[in-house]
């Protein structure tokens, strides 16, 4: 039970450390038997927070990576539009071929029907 309490308090203390607010005494008053245990863990947490200071990437790196990524998005888009154009051309060519074949078939059917109608009846 006490361990669960310590876990919850440590989570709250971490939020306080991130917010720049520290009030260990309030938390220490919440536990009865394990104040030393809690205090030493809270001290470790505070030291970790101090050690993991935010670092700044160089502005030249940030700018250069941004340029490079934007160039990549441009290439991606032109690649995609090229593919779309190619797809459209292939589609149009396929449709044209299908129409040609359909036209030839229609002509053959029509020609046969006409030829049949013109055949003289003997006898």
């Amino acid at each position: 039970m006490e361990e669960k309490m310590i876990r919850e308090i440590l989570a709250l203390q971490a939020n306080d450390l991130n917010a720049g607010e520290e009030d260990p005494q309030t938390y220490l008053a919440m536990v009865s038997g394990q104040q030393d245990e809690l205090e030493s863990l809270m001290t470790v947490a505070a030291r970790v927070k101090q050690a993991l200071l935010p670092v700044e990437p160089s502005s030249a790196f940030v700018r250069s990576l941004r340029r490079s990524l934007l160039a990549m998005t441009g290439r991606k888009r032109s690649g995609a539009s090229l593919l779309a154009k190619r797809g459209l051309l292939i589609g149009a060519a396929a449709l044209g071929s299908a129409l040609s074949v359909a036209g030839i078939i229609a002509y053959v059917v029509y020609a046969r029907a006409n030829a049949g109608a013109r055949t003289p009846v003997h006898g």
Partner: protein
């Protein structure tokens, strides 16, 4: 509209609009850089892996869908995988981090009080880097990125309760490590 909803809309826009991806980049580049820096310990690799993270994100953005994993968590997962690959490659060859050399040379000229404080910080960072990968990840996401336990859970694929528990165990392990160093040196670091 919440920040997450705004971000989801921005991510959808970024799939078509480079300017929107530029905004996402501006929002996360420092956070990802910090995460990678503290996992690798040097600026050179931090730049390399940050770049790889964003190239990977951009290449796979079309496939990204928010299924309970916000864009930020997805980005941290990519960064985490890049770091894991880096550690795997590095374990095959012994490399001395350049920054460690720089810090060591700076110590010789810094005032004594600064030396002590920098040494203490370096010892703590060294102890953190000796922790298992998931514990390092947790501490960096919590204290450098400032993520909540719920957000860390989304990155690491664990529940909020599991993160609280891992955090507690991590502090216990770190305390033990630091106490071990104190025994060796004969004084508190």
């Amino acid at each position: 509209m919440s920040i997450e909803e705004n971000e989801a809309a921005l991510v959808e826009r970024a799939k078509e609009d480079p300017a929107a991806f530029g905004l996402l980049y501006q929002r996360y580049v420092k956070k990802i850089y910090n995460y990678v820096y503290y996992r690798t310990g040097n600026h050179h690799d931090a730049e390399d892996l940050t770049a790889r993270t964003f190239y990977h994100a951009l290449s796979n953005l079309d496939r990204y869908q928010n299924r309970g994993v916000p864009f930020s968590a997805w980005l941290y997962r990519i960064a985490h995988n890049q770091v894991a690959n880096w550690h795997r490659d590095r374990s095959r060859r012994k490399v001395i981090a350049l920054d460690e050399v720089v810090v060591a040379s700076q110590r010789k000229v810094a005032p004594e009080s600064l030396i002590e404080s920098e040494e203490e910080r370096n010892a703590l960072l060294k102890a953190i880097r000796q922790l298992p990968s998931d514990r390092q990840q947790l501490l960096i996401l919590k204290f450098t990125a400032g993520l909540s336990n719920v957000e860390i859970g989304r990155v690491m694929g664990r529940s909020e309760g599991a993160i609280k528990s891992l955090y507690h165990r991590t502090l216990l392990a770190l305390r033990e490590k630091l106490a071990g160093e104190m025994d060796v040196d004969g004084e508190k670091i």
